[in-house]
């Protein structure tokens, strides 16, 4: 309820509140279910499903003449399902690969949907059905009853996901093992795919069929960067989805000529970019720093070991060796002087005279430690 109170405090506007709530719900549901799609390498299945939903919406309208959200959602879900089953059938029965099967369903169903839309526009009496909004989404058209339906359906989806948590985890990680334990993997797959269809369909009015797949892929891809735990990943993904959904929908609602779907997609893509760069451990920035540190350490170790090799040829540890020799030994990697200075700061080498260097006792110890460590690693 906390979220609700914050929202209420923030907004006095009914429309804005409805929009924010609706897109928040869609973000939570698609974010949570998207995790499974991404982990099971079905990111683009979401794209095919959402495009395939368009003719379902049109047919539902043609058959019932109603624009009631539940009717359209049912139509969309049915068509999304048919598209998915079609893909499965093509993959099972022919040598056509998944990319082609997805591409065909996506484009052909969508094309057929557009045919039906143009057909509807020319129907007598049809007051420009407003079905166009399903292409790129129009958050401003969300009504309270839409949000209530979204909330109920979304809650149902999430509850089912929680109930079968363990089973879905098993299905996603190692379905054959699950099957050997006696879990009906095909049925579980069926249920999880069904939940994904519902999650996609819930967002169509707000985000639109063309871009809804981004709401499946992007929150999950972002969340994956921050955590290695499935539970946390689902939670984070839902939060990211909700944040992007709400901010995108609000921005587009208060700005003229700003379609909702693309705005939401830009918001969530921003989250993706931030996550991929800044997330600890996996993030690119982190990785870059780690690599740099690693390289520096390796360079230091190399110079130290080289100096050790030179020192072995002299009994006197404090016999100086010229940096130029070390430079040659490092095969032109450069930075030898800088490394020597750093090593000196750590008390591992000493500057004998201007350009000549020698190991300290600490340096010898360090060399032994390094060599030992490498030996262990090899084993």
């Amino acid at each position: 309820m906390n979220l609700m109170q914050i929202l209420k405090g923030l907004m006095f506007d009914y429309t804005l509140r409805t929009v924010a709530l609706g897109s928040g719900i869609l973000g939570i549901v698609s974010g949570a279910l998207g995790v499974y799609a991404v982990l099971r390498k079905q990111s683009l299945l979401g794209d095919a499903m959402s495009h395939a939903a368009l003719p379902g919406i049109a047919i539902a309208f043609i058959l019932t003449g109603s624009k009631a959200p539940l009717v359209l959602i049912l139509g969309a879900a049915a068509a999304g399902w048919v598209g998915t089953l079609f893909i499965m059938a093509v993959l099972n029965k022919t040598r056509i690969k998944d990319d082609s099967a997805l591409g065909i369903v996506l484009s052909v169903f969508f094309g057929f949907g557009l045919v039906l839309l143009t057909f509807i526009q020319k129907m007598p009496k049809a007051t420009q059905a407003g079905l166009d909004n399903f292409l790129f989404g129009q958050a401003a058209t969300l009504m309270e009853r839409d949000v209530i339906i979204m909330g109920l359906l979304g809650a149902a989806v999430l509850i089912i996901m929680m109930v079968f948590w363990k089973e879905f985890k098993l299905l996603s990680f190692d379905s054959e093992f699950g099957s050997s334990l006696g879990f009906p993997i095909k049925k579980l797959d069926f249920i999880l795919t069904g939940l994904l269809v519902v999650a996609i369909v819930l967002g169509l009015q707000t985000v639109g069929v063309v871009l809804m797949s981004a709401m499946i892929v992007a929150p999950a891809a972002s969340a994956r960067q921050w955590t290695d735990k499935l539970g946390l990943m689902v939670a984070l993904s839902a939060v990211f989805g909700a944040l992007a959904g709400m901010s995108g929908a609000i921005i587009s609602s208060v700005t003229a000529h700003l379609p909702t779907g693309p705005t939401i997609v830009l918001c969530i893509s921003f989250v993706v970019a931030v996550s991929m760069t800044l997330a600890p451990n996996r993030g690119l920035l982190w990785r870059w720093f780690r690599e740099r540190r690693n390289n520096r350490r390796l360079r230091l170790e190399a110079v130290l070991l080289d100096l050790g090799m030179l020192a072995e040829q002299h009994e006197d540890l404090s016999h100086g060796h010229p940096a130029s020799v070390l430079n040659t030994m490092s095969m032109g990697q450069g930075g030898v002087e800088r490394s020597l200075e750093e090593l000196e700061r750590r008390g591992l080498v000493q500057n004998i005279n201007e350009d000549e260097w020698a190991l300290t006792q600490g340096g010898v110890k360090e060399i032994n430690r390094i060599l030992e460590h490498r030996e262990v690693k090899k084993v």
């Binding site: 190692d174 994956r224 990943m233």
Partner: protein, 260 residues
């Protein structure tokens, strides 16, 4: 034959076809309890398929499989499975302990979550494979050998009487291989039956006491001393090779095996 002692794994006339092409032809197999068995054969011989059809993962065109005298569906709790390491995505966001606990899911049953007991059993299994320090590690941080140990631990918590393992030595370093073999032999001396898809002919005699030579049909099956003969190996590898391209490699490894 019904008077004989009950077999741990019994396969009768098993034929498996993929798109109308036979992958396994009329396999008969009788594995007594308490043996450590290698399943050996060239690539495409149907070794993995044999394991999967014993587990009911592949539907046979004909024949039947009995585990301790009853169909697999009734004996699930008696069987543990170690799939090929490559069959899963090791970047999956989950921890070592979590993966091992999956071995308990069958016992836990629907919807209920794993509890403290499951956790403890999983930890014990991890100790047996000497991975207890890695319990909370993310699985993507493991080496190949460690991944294999995790899969073994997952099978151990199943506490099964019959184990089926698909190439547990694949991509594993020498130390881990030794540790795994010790573990398998330990399982055998506990009276459990372990069937292992194995690639390295040179180690068959050293590791196993029972062997099945397979090449689409069953060439021979029985104690290593009786069955693992040059003649049978030739029958398995030289004569009826399913894919001619692999035959060269196999012949090579065969001649290596002969040198022993």
């Amino acid at each position: 034959m019904d008077n004989e002692e009950i077999k741990a794994i019994r396969v009768d006339d098993l034929t498996v076809a993929y798109r109308d092409k036979p992958v396994l032809w009329d396999i008969d197999l009788n594995v007594p309890p308490g043996v450590l068995m290698a399943i050996v054969g060239p690539n495409g011989a149907g070794k993995t398929t044999l394991i999967k059809s014993i587990l009911g993962l592949v539907k046979p065109a004909a024949g039947q499989v009995l585990i301790y005298g009853k169909p697999y569906q009734q004996q699930r709790s008696l069987v543990g499975y170690v799939p090929q390491r490559e069959s899963v995505d090791w970047d999956f966001p989950t921890s070592v302990l979590d993966v091992v606990m999956m071995g308990r899911y069958g016992i836990i049953g629907w919807i209920r979550r794993p509890g403290r007991e499951d956790r403890e059993l999983a930890m014990q299994a991890l100790e047996k494979v000497r991975m207890q320090d890695f319990a909370n590690r993310q699985i993507s941080q493991l080496s190949g050998g460690q991944q294999q140990r995790v899969f073994l631990a997952r099978a151990l918590v199943q506490d099964a009487k019959v184990y089926l393992m698909d190439e547990p030595f694949q991509g594993v370093d020498a130390t881990t291989e030794k540790a795994i073999v010790e573990l398998l032999q330990q399982l055998r001396s506990d009276g459990r039956t372990v069937a292992v898809v194995h690639h390295d002919l040179q180690t068959v005699i050293e590791y196993f006491d029972w062997v099945t030579l397979l090449n689409v049909r069953s060439i021979a099956s029985g104690p290593v001393a009786e069955v693992f003969t040059d003649e049978n190996l030739h029958l398995t590898y030289a004569g009826r090779v399913a894919f001619s391209r692999e035959s060269k490699e196999q012949k090579n490894s065969l001649s290596d095996g002969d040198k022993q």
